[in-house]
Symmetry: D2
Subunit: 373 residues, 4 copies
């Protein structure tokens, strides 16, 4: 029997917890994939990372990711830090020959993403696997939507409505966080939630974005910080219109000010022969209309995507299960010697669209052509 | 007892039927308003208008609206023709001193609308009432939404999502009609459905549109006409972003290609303290969220707007009841000597926004400032 | 041209208004049926009936139904009084050779219903038409459900869940009305709402009820009357289990105490190959599941039952439109010389089931076999 | 640091997997509870149990539960076998002084349940904890419903509609299983799904069942077994009416033949001041109506029951998370020296109701009084 793959997760906060959960459970649901050993959890605050490692099932903890990415007992480096650190850690891990998972967005800047793509591409030749963590590709209902579209069941796609709405910033008294500072977060809701939507559109349609127009808005311009009011330097809400290579038009709307919407990623795809619709707040359901009416498919059958390892029909999954499926996909790629998706190239493609939204907003909100700019 | 008000309806097709239905029923539900006499129905095709008049409860029929708008037994002229005839008929009726209802959109061009506003404004001084027929202001749930917003229950409005989706053009083999020819229809779905959305946004928010960017799209560029393929000269779908005087941002999306959506006008208004949401396919329901969750209000209580004359709670209304309520509002204004809403000024304000969408589309889709252009 | 059929409606309250509305509108939507003249509205309170007649479009009003049912200008007698008067008026009208519509329930007692069936049966031989007014047979979505079942699309029916829930008696302070006195109303919610459910089950399944068990409950035993507290002598809620000839089991639940349910008639029919589901609060929708998921059919297409005369797809109907369709069905039967449905026999069949529910409740709630008791 | 509690799970099939998953994850979400060690998984088929133990995170596997329940390194025995084995294993474990979890139903017979209650009651005095596994008490939305009711927000409960519908037996060709044989399963859907409903009603209302009437039905009387058609000796569907001590009436309906319903436990509770409603297919949502309309509460906030350890608002949970919460509750009781719920007494109370349903069905379906029979 081969040695289990050693995994290191960098970051122990929200995403670090979600990824740890996935590594702890992936073997129980995917017994035929390579075994995993939760080798080391990395974070800068010693008491916190020690406690998190203990709680989340890790053998060890460490303070400095530099010491970890070269360890012999680490085969996979999974990066869950804030976005401005992704580039440096991923580069080091790839250079050390480790398989790398980067939580989305790939990086905070186009330049960094482009460099990561190049390095990952070379590493690929040596069998090093890399993936960006758009976990919603692992929602069974969305994977089913992709296959419904790919099978031509809704015809040629013409129009897509995509929105991702949350409300945790509705109250002007909600405090300042690193997510609202441009230097750490890169952008606001556009990068955080808009990146998921752009990735989903590319995933569902299997098509590329060619033209972009967009608008950003900051409704609450300063918020209480530890030492008084602090300016919010990122967007609270954003809108975009995207044109695809095959002629579809996609409207995008994201917000952290949408009172009453907690985590509502909604996508509706209209084709020449039908439509599909989805809402993340009801993640086990897909609506499919091929002419007879809107059909609510409870996506919990064993022959639906990603569901065979789980429970009987009607026994619904939750948000965190997507990470377990994502981890399984990465392990399968390692085992099969194939490239996992979404790739760093996918991550870069998303960043290029988000960058164009920002450029459009600055320049009067007219259309930006990605092919020529 | 005073003489009943004589009504003439011009047009006996879809809207002519809906308005006739309203004039036939308004007295039964509003006994305290002035009585109405269905005097004459007007149309160009003699056998058709004769048969329609007989069926829909009219005393007489006529071929030429010019003969009708000056008749002594006609007090109200209700114009339900295609848009390119609105201007001429309305002018004649106002000049004859008749109260005038014009089905939306007010006219096909800004110039025509501006002239109507001017003439109606003068006529108003002489007690002549005029109204444009945005019947969805009479949907009880939308009227309730307006009052929820006006009462400050959702705080300051920041973000609005408005869409109106139909699917009767999904099939490229669907035949050519006057609605797809620019010279008759003025525009495509933008004018037809977009006008309802712009009016609703102004109605719900009690706010004005200041900036506009937009895009139009024709997905199916020619359709079978009586003598072969004919070019479609209007838009199949349209998008806009609107900025209001008080700082709200409104996204608008309209389409006749949204497979599976039959008549789905959806509006969601997000404020600093909550939200409201509506879908015309479930026109008796309003969703209100003021912090505890999304509440489905079945808008059928006697103390809800417009509902006192109708049925007990839970006995739902249909689409056509909005026209009866609209007719009642017009009669009440005549009786009270007040000005009915929406006014021709409201109709013009909508036309200005739609015009700006078209200009933005032509000019690279950037922002148009209504104050300066 | 033949003379229009003269109609008399007896009763001008809730049902009298709804039926008047239907007679006033039926011609506009069904021009090929016999013409109708709203001849006379009958009620005991002179000022009230005079005012109602004027408002609702009637030529005349009258105080005594005895004078009316024999008039030469009356061809149709439509009985909308409380249930204890149905029997006497219907008998007189049938004896006078008039076509008769009786609002449900047919009568308050089995004996009365049996006699009406006998008399109507004889009158039928002379071309006299009779119908009981279960208007929900005219809900397009329910008529579609019946045809889905009849076409075998959900297989053999096994299990039905039927409920009709309202909440107007939730508050113990809600005042006494004739509907809560056994001598006038016959029974409480069982007869009022339960009768609709039993009729629907027979209509949808085209099957007969054979066995019945049931329970009645009065949660609030006295209510404020004009001269102090008065005992409630009917049921607030009722339950039944019905067995059909073909082996289906039907659960029935009705209540006027179901807080938050305004007028919610829900039916779900499960067969060996699928299911259908309906809720009157969303009366334009039918849910059909034949294996792929639950499909929401927006029942507003011209080829759906009863919809051809109305509006384009997605332009929803309301509760009162069912009465117009019901009136059209009655007129069509008169014109064609056929027997309209539901017949008095159908009305009696419903009464027999309701009677068995009451007997079961009294006798320990065990099963009553309709064939042997 | 104290030694981790050693756990043994008996059974590795559906429930054995779900409970294993809970023991593997409980520490990560509840770090302040006693640590757990997955000591041994027990099953009769050596290759299968060996493989399952390896996959599901167990240190060891064993064939004979008798060897396991007395092991020094086992503190908790968690019984996930078919119901006919619960009694014997639980007795042995209690006698060995182990804490015991029994998956529902407690046992297949009243006698067995009564004996277990007695033995567990004595063991309790010695600090031995026991619990029956009605995991739906751990659904956050249902726990919230209980607290809404307990706080009096819907007033005095009068009427409850409870159903649990699945469809895995719709097809008459679905094969025979142990669940359809009375000697192993005890009963059919009544015990399997009805037990959940009865427990939920007692949990939500904090009230006791006093009267019971019921009916059982087997729609498909034989099914293909390994050696030809085999009789189905349990119920496919069941109905009951329950009366509670405080005067509420509860309707219960359960089925494995409800085409299109995959795992739909629905409960609607109507009180004198409002209502709550729930559907397990949307397990993160609770509907609450206290007079303004039906409010959909997305039960994912940190201050909702059971949710503090999980994810941010809107990041929904799945079915299997309920078992983790259940395990945490059991560990907390051990740590605190309190008695966990639901107790064996609760399990017995449920069995008494189910037994009364069966007796009512046999005896003409009339009412059985639990106090006197």
């Amino acid at each position: 029997m081969t040695r289990a793959l050693g995994v290191a997760v960098i970051g122990y906060s929200f995403m670090g917890r979600a990824h740890s959960n996935a590594w702890r459970n992936v073997g129980a649901f995917h017994p035929h994939l390579p075994r995993v050993s939760q080798q080391v959890l990395v974070g800068r605050d010693e008491p916190a990372v020690r406690s998190a490692a203990d709680q989340l099932g890790w053998r060890e903890w460490a303070i400095d990711w530099r010491d970890v990415v070269t360890r012999d007992d680490v085969d996979v480096v999974d990066i869950c830090t804030p976005g401005h650190l992704h580039h440096e850690i991923a580069l080091a891990a790839l250079h050390a020959g480790k398989h790398v998972v980067v939580e989305k967005p790939l990086t905070n800047t186009l330049e960094e993403s482009a460099e990561l793509v190049e390095v990952a591409s070379k590493a690929r030749a040596g069998g090093v696997r890399s993936m960006v963590g758009f976990n919603y590709r692992c929602v069974p209902a969305l994977a089913l939507a992709r296959s419904v579209i790919a099978d031509g069941r809704i015809g040629e796609v013409r129009q897509v409505r995509a929105s991702y709405l949350q409300d945790w910033l509705v109250d002007p008294a909600a405090p300042m966080t690193w997510r609202l500072r441009k230097e750490q977060a890169g952008s606001g809701v556009l990068g955080d939630l808009g990146s998921h939507l752009v990735d989903q559109v590319r995933f569902l349609l299997d098509d590329e974005i060619e033209t972009v127009s967009g608008r950003l808005e900051t409704f609450v311009e300063s918020r209480p910080g530890p030492s008084g009011a602090e300016p919010v330097t990122v967007d609270d809400a954003a809108w975009a219109l995207l044109g695809t290579t095959r002629g579809a038009v996609v409207s995008v709307e994201v917000s952290r000010m949408a009172a009453g919407r907690k985590n509502s990623l909604q996508i509706e795809v209209f084709g020449s022969g039908g439509s599909v619709a989805f809402d993340l707040e009801r993640l086990n359901e897909l609506w499919v209309d091929t002419g007879e009416g809107r059909t609510r498919v409870l996506v919990t059958e064993p022959d639906h995507p990603h569901l065979a390892p789980w429970w009987p029909p009607g026994h619904v999954l939750g948000w965190d299960h997507t990470f377990t499926t994502q981890a399984a996909g990465f392990l399968a790629a390692i085992a099969d010697g194939t490239d996992p998706t979404p790739s760093f190239e996918d991550g870069l493609a998303v960043q290029r669209v988000l960058d164009a939204v920002e450029r459009s907003d600055v320049a009067g909100r007219g259309t930006v052509d990605l092919a020529t700019s």
